[in-house]
């Protein structure tokens, strides 16, 4: 029974991981920018929802604000940080350090203005009821899984059936050709950041309602997103989402054998193993690195 309970908890965590990882993978796949501030978008979205909730606004308003905050943050990062750096052929490391700096600034600002430590949104949705003997499930579990499923379906349709989506995939393969066709590589790149960052918002809201936020949560989110992207295979959105789901389930199932503080270590052992033995990931194509 414990196994089933942990599996269900794992699916909920996994759905959250899958959404954030897919956002990160979308941005990295399309623009080749290692968006290390993706966890910061998550933090901002989570705290935006928290503030809306504290102000007594209805949930859907808070959700809209959270999505807007994450999206604007992603677009601002592209426009004001990454684009100036790439103009002088910034190396991977330059991009990484710049994003890291932004992450530190936001983390401390959030700590100063929203308070340090755990902050949660209390809602009826996270009250668990006993659905089977010894199995407790809260409505938020189904909401998390359904949200993730709907968003992935929408994302797939967008990437395969719309002009913007096809252009986004084309950017990943050949930026020069994009320009030849008269499309703006910069515009598509902003679009990738907008969508990728928006995907972090629902995950942040669910996290705020369940395990809670803290000002440093961005690091954890970032690490999971990177781990899922690498384990799934760089450039594969499906891989990142699946790997995110698997990491969430693995972390939860591991609790049968170890204490909670080791849950994160499970993800990193998986990441470490993949880096050492299969750097191209599950769905990845072999790449020269």
């Amino acid at each position: 029974m414990l196994f089933l309970q942990l599996l269900l908890n794992g699916l909920q965590t996994g759905a959250i991981y899958a959404l954030t990882a897919a956002g990160f993978a979308l941005i990295f796949g399309a623009t080749r920018i290692f968006h290390f501030a993706h966890g910061t978008a998550f933090t901002l979205a989570g705290y935006a929802y928290l503030f809306a909730w504290r102000a007594g606004w209805p949930g859907w308003v808070g959700a809209l604000i959270a999505v807007a905050v994450a999206t604007l943050f992603g677009m601002a990062m592209e426009r004001f940080v990454y684009r100036p750096i790439q103009r002088h052929e910034g190396s991977f490391f330059t991009v990484f350090v710049a994003a890291f700096g932004v992450g530190i600034v936001v983390q401390n600002l959030v700590g100063m203005f929203a308070g340090r430590g755990l902050a949660t949104v209390d809602t009826r949705l996270s009250f668990a009821t006993e659905v089977m003997p010894e199995i407790f499930v809260a409505p938020i579990l189904w909401i998390a899984i359904a949200t993730a499923a709907v968003l992935f379906a929408a994302l797939t349709v967008f990437l395969t059936r719309t002009h913007a989506g096809v252009a986004l995939r084309a950017l990943a393969q050949n930026p020069d050709l994009i320009r030849t066709y008269g499309l703006s590589a910069n515009g598509i790149s902003v679009l990738a950041f907008a969508i990728g960052s928006a995907l972090a918002a629902p995950a942040a809201i669910v996290t705020a309602m369940t395990s809670g936020l803290n000002e440093a949560i961005g690091h954890h989110v970032m690490l999971i997103s990177i781990a899922a992207t690498i384990v799934g295979g760089i450039g594969s959105l499906r891989g990142a989402a699946l790997a995110g789901l698997m990491l969430g389930v693995a972390e939860s199932l591991a609790l049968q054998f170890v204490d909670t503080q080791w849950a994160e270590a499970v993800s990193f052992l998986a990441l470490f193993a993949f880096i050492l033995f299969r750097p191209s990931g599950i769905f990845g194509v072999a790449m020269a690195r």
Binding site: I85, T94, I104, N108, I226, F272, P279
Partner: protein
């Protein structure tokens, strides 16, 4: 006042060693590790245990710490051999997170969250000695070794690997050995800094070896300028004197000094990368092309 300045100088020397050794792998070998605090911590625990269980001899503690940290640097060298760039940063981040959990949980070796307390005052061959002169000597040694290694054939091999790994390999350079050695040297240096830190504060716990410290050291190297001899030292002086300077500003509440310091260096990192990617001391034309 003398005690305050002596404490600040010791901290400067210890973090100077950390920044200089991290710069050695980041600036010359292109191995961007965000796990330097792990090896600092390994050295601190190793040095503390030697002092607690055997004798508080500062040289012995440093040597033991260097051996432990250098030996375990294989944890960092292995992924560095397999992958570079983004992948390696991810691996080193993972190592940092797992190591903090290990430090907090392995109570017999590290004292857990409570840490190791009551580390005796350091001696040298039985004579009581301050940490400051030893730390300064160690810093000088590390800088000398960095300068010599960087100028010699080994340094050129490393920069060749940094700039074009396959080209270096094609020229018959043993890439795996060079990377492993460079990581080993840097981590052993961080271990020495850790042992000195343990003897200086006479108390160590996991809070000094978290990702914040890895990032702080990384910020010192970057703000000063990677791949330069003096850049990391200048970065160390700037970042360590920042909290002291902020404490004198009356309008900042003392509880927020830490946060404001972090905001300042975070901003400095981002703005430098946008406008001056080579750092304060770095050579502009060179810093841009490295990857």
């Amino acid at each position: 006042m003398i005690a305050y300045l002596s404490n600040l100088a010791t901290q400067l020397a210890i973090f100077g060693i950390l920044a200089a050794t991290l710069n050695f792998i980041v600036g010359y070998a292109g191995i961007f590790s965000i796990a330097h605090a792990v090896f600092f911590g390994l050295g601190a625990y190793a040095g503390a245990q030697i002092a607690l269980l055997l004798v508080p001899d500062v040289v012995l503690a440093c040597l033991f710490a260097a051996a432990i940290a250098g030996g375990l640097s294989l944890c960092l060298a292995l992924p560095a051999l397999r992958v570079r760039g983004e992948y390696f940063v991810a691996a080193s981040l993972g190592l940092q997170m797992v190591a903090v959990t290990l430090f907090a949980e392995l109570k017999p070796l590290t004292g857990g969250i409570g840490g190791l307390v009551g580390i005796p005052l350091p001696t040298l061959f039985g004579v009581p000695v301050g940490v400051l002169p030893v730390a300064l000597a160690a810093l000088a040694l590390v800088l000398l070794a960095t300068a010599l290694l960087a100028r010699g054939a080994f340094g050129r091999t490393l920069t060749a690997i940094r700039d074009a790994e396959s080209a270096a390999e094609a020229l018959g350079k043993n890439v795996a050995a060079a990377k492993t050695l460079a990581v080993g040297f840097a981590c052993a240096g961080a271990g020495v800094a850790g042992a000195l830190y343990a003897l200086h504060t006479s108390f160590v716990n996991v809070e000094s070896f978290t990702m914040e410290y890895s990032v702080l050291v990384m910020a010192m190297v970057i703000i000063g300028g990677t791949g330069t001899l003096w850049g990391p030292l200048i970065g160390t002086v700037i970042l360590l004197s920042l909290p002291a300077g902020l404490a004198f500003l009356p309008f900042i509440p003392p509880s927020e000094v830490g946060a404001i310091q972090q905001i300042l260096y975070g901003l400095a990192m981002t703005l430098l990368m946008i406008f001056r990617p080579a750092g304060l001391v770095g050579d502009l034309s060179r810093g841009r092309a490295t990857a």
